[in-house]
């Protein structure tokens, strides 16, 4: 059973369109992180959200942490082919700082 549920599993859109990826759980997280992974490489950290209701923006990417710190979303505005990748959310639930990952959302942006 996955602690973090991501949806959708796969998303294919045209360049210039917007997209949103969701990450949901019944558990409360002390912090939640989003990563992007290219094929054959390790995940790269995009953002960490800590406070319930927090919104962070990274150029065309907007990250939101739910008020109850159980869910998060990633919104990409005017997607570009360079946004293609596997997007992973991961949450920290204990004092050791262990990350628990969602199954990921594969995003494909075609020109």
């Amino acid at each position: 059973t996955q602690l973090l549920e991501q949806s959708p599993q796969f998303l294919s859109i045209q360049e210039g369109e917007n997209l949103t990826v969701y990450c949901n759980s019944s558990s409360v997280f002390s912090s939640l992180q989003w990563y992007r992974q290219e094929p054959g490489e390790g995940p790269v950290l995009l953002v960490t959200v800590v406070t319930g209701g927090e919104v962070k923006k990274l150029k065309r990417l907007t990250f939101q942490f739910g008020d109850a710190r159980k869910d998060s979303s990633l919104h990409i505005t005017a997607a570009q082919p360079g946004d293609t990748g596997l997007y992973l959310c991961a949450g920290i639930t204990d004092s050791w700082g262990k990350l628990q990952f969602g199954a990921g959302t594969q995003v494909v942006v075609t020109p």
Partner: protein, 110 residues
């Protein structure tokens, strides 16, 4: 700056053979170290983590073991590989909850 090295990048091993994957971190001291395994195109499963030399915690019972002989060295091992051990293995380190991943090892057991 901190860097993490993981090798080899790819490995093809026969069933029943031993395994040793190495991960080293530079530019930091006393990091938390982690081994993850990833199924094709999916999320990461935590296998082992270590908060100090000689200290290893296992998350999932399996055919693998881990060791931390030095502060910045983390090794993943197996005495006899199974077909089900195939996958993409990632080493990571963290301090203050910021994670940095290595480039991974693609292991294929044949």
């Amino acid at each position: 700056s901190q860097t993490i090295h993981q090798w080899p990048a790819t490995l093809v091993q026969p069933v029943g053979s031993p395994l040793s994957l190495e991960c080293t971190v530079e530019g930091t001291s006393n990091p938390n170290l982690y081994w993850y395994r990833q199924a094709a195109g999916r999320g990461l499963q935590l296998l082992f983590y270590s908060v100090g030399i000689g200290q290893i915690s296992s998350e999932v019972p399996q055919n693998l073991s881990a060791s931390r002989p030095q502060d910045r060295q983390f090794i993943l091992s197996s005495k006899k590989l199974l077909l089900s051990d195939s996958g993409f293995y990632l080493c990571a380190w963290s301090q203050n909850y910021g994670y940095t991943f290595g480039s991974g090892t693609r292991l294929t057991v044949v």
